[in-house]
Amino acid sequence: MFLHYLKYEILSSLRVKDLIFWLILFPIILGTLFKIAFGHLYEKFETFSAIPVAVVDEAPELDSEFVLKMEIFPTRDIIDSVSEGDQPFLKVTYTDRKQADELLKKGKVTGIISMEGKLSLTVHDSGIEETLLQNFVDRFNSSITVVTEAITSNPNAEAEIIQAISTEIKAVTDIPLTKGNTDYYTEYFYNLIAMVAMYGSLTGLNITIRNQGNLSKLGARKCCSPAPKSISLLASLIGSFIVQSICMLICVSFLRFVLRIDFGSRLPAVYLAAVCGGILGVSFGFCIGSIGALKTEIKTSICFAVSMFFCFCSGLMIGNMKIIIEEKAPWFNKINPAAVVTDSLYYLNVDKDYSRFQTKMITIAVLSAAMILLGFGLTRRKKYASL
């Protein structure tokens, strides 16, 4: 009997068009749009690359002091040295002032470094790239000050001083913290998976609709049938878990293999996290559906509204919302089902071990179990006549 129920539960779930739309089609559409919009942002705008700059080298009236200093600091050589090599700092275009202004206006260069008398910088915006250029100009100008002061204080040590300023040093060494994908726009795709998991609440809600006599004809027939309610409900619940898991697998596979989203090196665990998230979503819908004798539309609206609220708080619409909440109310992130799912995927990507991931999986299991028990508790001994 159980298997009979299970089979028809799965078949009837697959025939609900709304579920197919929200759980399969919608994530595919949204995922594709996310990929188009955010796919190249990290590499193009967040990762350091040579800053395009126009250098104006006209020097109509160089002051004598500057010319003297230029012998120690051959500006053009310095600029050339930082625009060569494997990781160049500048991408230089030598040009005249008029052309440089034009390049800046069109956004082809971030700034203009001009050597008209002394080094100066022109930019059209304030930002980190502009600050890097300002630092470069400052570095050049302050080096002149440093050398002048040092030589003044001890003229005999001029050779050592010039050698010290010209020696290239590497004072900073990197301490790498992760080997995972550090593109934080991937968080949008984690949130997409969390959204599909939370939309599993609609699948969960269908369980109660199909079992509650006042919500559907099928429910009315089931209420009258001699089959034990516990078996019927359990079959519905497991059937929904299976359908939801299939949707989660399709979603992750589409993101990973069609859109080529990098989830790190632990893909099986990503599937596991997504499936568990889906089960949590179904349990949530089952719990909401079991509350009182509310109409289907109201229960559906509650499921949608609460799911979207959870997804909003975990960063589906505004990427860093979860971090903002972490500062104000960290406890909420620990129990928000969508945030728990996105966190588990994030930890899989960036962590070296599984300890934080395991904590999140335990949270998902506990939340799911609590919601299923609550759902069973609320539907227990509820007869058709009592609805």
């Binding site: 089609l25 206006k105 570095r139 000050t145 004072a171 301490i175 962590d351």
Partner: protein, 389 residues
Amino acid sequence: MQVFNAFLKVMKRRMTSALIYVIVFLAISFSFANSKSQEKVFKSTKLNVAVLDEDNTPESKALTDFIGTKHNLKQIEKDENIIKDALYWGITVDYVMEIRQGFSQKLEAKEYDDLFGNYHVHDGFSDALMEQLLNEYITAVGTYQASGMTTSDAMKHTADALSVESSVELADKNSEQQNSDFTEEFSAYFRYMPYILLSVLISVLCPVLLAMSRKNIRYRTNCSSFKTSAYTFQIFLGSMIFVIGIWLIFMIAGTIMNGGIFRGKTWLAVLNSFIFSILSAAIAVLIAEFHPSDTAINLATQVIGLGMSFLCGIFVPHIYLSSGVLKAARFMPAYWYVKANNMIAGIDTFSSKEVAVCFLIQSAFLLAVALLAALVHRTNYSASAQLNK
């Protein structure tokens, strides 16, 4: 006005979802409207830097103080996971560095390599900026030391020498185009409008038009003495009142956000949004002509609304979109809407001729969609007439 009244009655039932869209959009717009200001002078970027001082000597403290004059110093617990999460998001801190134990001794011994550790997550600009600053600082200290100064004196001199910042000239990219009437910040309100217009108009107008053209209602109307032209006119009137009503709500809200009646070039943005509103309504009519189910309407709303928003520069500005995406977006009306909006705001070079071209292209889309809707309607009508024969 029986048809008109019936139209409004059906629409009333669908207004809740429209109002949710409108209210959420306006609430978000109002919350963002107050936080913007026009930039007039260059301001160097100050990073949030956390320094983990393992050396804990006067020299390491002097360095920390120096970093504090250039950037914002933040505290962070020395826990790998906490540092990793903080750097991954880059909200609380941009850079976490460690002053290694033995820093002062190495400095004294004139050994300048590997003095600091950089907790590394992103290959970003923050890392480049800080590495540049730290190398510059140590080089300057080394230069002063080469002149015979003690380490502490060298550090004092270095801090003084590096405190001088070159003045940076801020060129106004579009000085001729930028206007105070329609600022770049305020233009964002108009930029996001197409998404809401498409979502509201498709999700509300479509089901209402479908309800009005349901077979049994349509047949009853057809066999009545009511003229077809009068029927069409009343449906058209109802739709126009709804479209203009929604558009007016946005314009009134925009006026409040603007702090008074629109001026100058803002009226061009108003005209732009009006053309797009009518175009969105025409798209809704076209969809309704295919008699879709509720699920299909949902799908159409999401695909058209989100699709145009992501591809045409509504959610992600044109500058961030790849050239391939922008080329494809030219075949969608929202691209021309955003292009006109950008020119009016001075984000792109303003040209009245090009703005007019954008308006004309949107109008051409409107005409094409309307003709297509009429064609589909005529085909459906002929098909059903054939069946009834």
